[in-house]
């Protein structure tokens, strides 16, 4: 460890740490563009120049190792002057089109210019103008706004290991370029949009959709696959507008895949079941929650139940479901299927990939004692009550579905939608989806991570833990759960893998379950 002073604050950092990182540790942001902790150092923007005492020249904080006893001034006159110079030069060819730029409001060029830049330009020459270019994938390149920090090039080269981007030409003609027909189609290429500190690389999906200041943000976990990348859900007027990665050194570092990034529209579905429904004759009619819960409880009590659950439900919901099954008749069981997709690793980050299991809580479902199967409908035995917990069975063939329906004596739906084939359900309890709820997922390495509510659920739909707690009470369980934290602590008390965990204690980056390798089943007799 070495100790240095930055802006009058003493900070101790491991040897080899850059001044910029040491500044972060001391709580001082040294302005920078080309530096990114997830990428190799380039040292080209020259924005992070700081004054180091006894050094003749200003030092680039990103490329200079902190040394013991160093005294660093970030806001000294010479450092400010240098950064003001960089900002002026970055802006001479910049179109200053903030009103139409998607990055506006979250643009580092804008931020630092407001903080430290000149009030007006001295540039009187015509600006350099280049046409907008489609980089393929989800990315569009606006060269006029580019500051050539080369973060995108370095990401594609060293992290994605698919160098389809280059710096073309030189001098002030230089641009980010790519080869014809070699697009940014790498499954992780969308990260360049995130990495771009200005509005040069933009997401086509998000283009012109919302301003950064219009949006509300919630820390969440990507529901796309079992990797469990940490994300931020951004909503505008209660509509999810985009997903962005949230750093977590243990899971996804700074990145998320394109599939996860773009797969958010289902969170905005409009064909949701929004009110509790029960069967009256041939039709499902909206009723009060109490009536629907009672109807469901009556159907389940003492009956043999086959629950088909979604591996996208939270640990708490799955745990309460397991408890529901234990209240039902003997031989009740729960199964789930996992949608599969091609695996796509990000080579530059260890143990980070789009996983084949395209559901966020496969591990959690297994820990709660649900059986994984490719044919969940086959589990439905003749005379069973089919409890459908938000499971998507669209992959199964019509014959399989109708066969299972014929075998089932009753159907109860707990979920965000009522699939067309489940129209014969006795009761349907509307749930909030993962963006409208909070809870935890367990990723494939057993890391339990919290996601938080990003928007409100439609009409009368309620969070799963709350609905199931009511159902359990109706089934005679003495459980008391009024908050998601209580639901989690009920789980932590009952399940050895979660022993000792608290909801708050999971923090921003999660905690790994005990004995993470082997998924263990929930033992019976939980009704404490």
């Amino acid at each position: 460890m070495i100790t240095l002073t930055i802006e009058g604050r003493q900070v101790s950092v491991p040897e080899g740490t850059s001044i910029l990182e040491a500044g972060k540790a001391a709580g001082i942001l040294i302005p920078h563009y080309c530096y990114h902790p997830g990428l190799p150092v380039a040292g080209v923007c020259r924005m992070c120049l700081v004054e180091v005492e006894k050094s003749p020249k200003l030092a680039p904080a990103c490329a200079t190792a902190a040394a013991d006893g160093q005294v660093v001034h970030v806001h000294s006159e010479s450092a400010l002057e240098a950064r003001q110079g960089v900002l002026e030069l970055l802006l001479i060819n910049h179109p200053l089109d903030c009103p139409v730029c998607d990055q506006s409001g979250e643009c580092e060029l804008q931020d630092y210019t407001y903080a430290e830049g000149r009030r007006s330009t001295r540039y009187r020459e015509p600006k350099r103008v280049n046409p907008v270019e489609d980089f393929g994938g989800d990315v569009v390149y606006v060269p006029n706004r580019c500051i050539l920090c080369t973060r995108c090039v370095r990401f594609m080269e060293t992290v994605a290991e698919d160098p389809v981007l280059n710096v073309s030409d030189r001098g002030d003609h230089a641009l980010i370029g790519k080869f014809e027909n070699q697009d940014l189609t790498h499954p992780w290429a969308g990260n360049v949009v995130e990495l771009c500190p200005v509005g040069a690389l933009l997401s086509k999906d998000f283009l012109n959709k919302a301003r950064s200041w219009d949006m509300d943000r919630a820390a969440s976990v990507c529901p796309g696959c079992s990797q469990g990348c940490n994300i931020v859900i951004e909503t505008r007027d209660n509509v999810v507008a985009r997903l962005r990665p949230r750093p977590n050194a243990d899971v996804n570092q700074y990145f998320m895949c394109d599939e996860g990034r773009l797969n958010y529209r289902w969170l905005n579905r409009r064909d949701r079941v929004a009110e509790p429904l029960v069967r009256r004759g041939d039709a499902l009619i909206p009723v009060d929650w109490e009536i629907a819960i009672d109807a469901a409880a009556r159907t389940l009590t003492g009956r043999r139940v086959t629950a088909i659950v979604s591996p996208g439900l939270s640990n708490e919901v799955l745990y309460l479901l397991r408890r529901v099954l234990e209240r039902c008749g003997a031989e009740s069981e729960g199964v789930f299927a996992v949608r599969q997709g091609p695996e796509a690793p990000l080579p530059g980050v260890p143990d980070l990939a789009v996983r084949a299991d395209r559901a966020p809580n496969v591990q959690g479902a297994e820990l709660m004692g649900f059986r994984r199967t490719d044919a969940p409908l086959d589990a439905v035995r003749s005379g069973d009550v089919l409890l459908l917990a938000d499971a998507d069975l669209s992959a199964a063939g019509a014959a399989v579905v109708s066969g299972a329906l014929a075998r089932a004596a009753d159907i109860i739906v707990i979920g965000t939608t009522v699939p067309a084939w489940a129209a014969g359900a006795g009761a349907a309890l509307p749930l909030a989806n993962m963006a409208e709820d909070e809870g935890t997922f367990t990723n494939l390495r057993g890391r339990v991570q919290r996601y938080r509510q990003a928007k409100s659920p439609p009409a009368l739909a309620r969070p799963g833990w709350s609905v199931l707690a009511d159902l359990l009470v109706a089934l005679g369980d003495p459980i008391v759960v009024w908050t998601p934290a209580e639901a989690f602590s009920a789980l932590a008390q009952a399940h050895p893998a979660f022993a000792g965990m608290t909801y708050e204690g999971l923090g921003a980056t999660g905690t790994v379950v005990a004995d993470a390798r082997e998924p263990r089943a929930v033992t019976a007799g939980i009704g404490a």
Partner: protein, 183 residues
């Protein structure tokens, strides 16, 4: 559009640079003898990538310019991506990214030559070759004239380079005679 000069491999390929509608007439370069030569170059460096500049020189010698298709081929041979090759090609000014005239004339106009009247030499070349404009190819496809930053022969102002030949001490008056030497 200038008439594609004869000589190097396919006229179609040159034309394709101007007219993308024409079919891709690319023929691989690194086969046979040239491949052997490249393999010999590869032995001189510890990495494959290091042979990039020599490989591009081979392309330019054979075809007169470095087309995108050629960049893609070089990339394949050297196990890098075409985008990478393009980044390198665009960095170095001596690789032509467009077809040029049969004779490529570079006139040094950097300060030491500039004070000795290099600009007159450029004007003379532009007039006498008929190319009219810097970087343009003359209508007969014979000459492309450019200004170049320092040929490293400042004491022999004005040096010019036609193809591989450096001619020193050129004055505007000598230009027609020099042009006549390059049919």
């Amino acid at each position: 559009m200038s008439v594609p000069p004869p000589g190097s491999l396919t006229q179609l390929e040159r034309a394709a640079a101007f007219d993308p509608a024409l079919p891709d007439a690319y023929e691989p370069l690194f086969v046979g003898e040239r491949r052997v030569a490249l393999d010999e170059v590869l032995t001189r460096y510890p990495t494959r990538m290091a042979a990039l500049l020599p490989a591009l020189w081979m392309v330019q010698e054979a075809r007169g310019w470095v087309s995108e298709a050629a960049m893609a081929e070089v990339a394949e041979v050297l196990h890098v991506t075409p985008a990478y090759v393009k980044g390198v090609v665009t960095f170095y000014t001596m690789y032509h990214q467009r077809p040029v005239g049969r004779h490529f004339v570079q006139v040094c106009t950097t300060s030491p030559c500039n004070v000795c009247g290099a600009e007159d030499v450029v004007r003379a070349f532009l007039t006498h070759t008929g190319s009219g404009e810097i970087g343009a190819t003359s209508p007969d496809g014979r000459f492309t004239v450019i200004e170049v930053e320092c040929l490293g022969a400042c004491g022999f102002a004005t040096p010019i380079m036609i193809d591989e030949d450096v001619i020193e001490g050129v004055t505007a008056a000598q230009v027609p005679e020099i042009i006549a030497r390059y049919p």
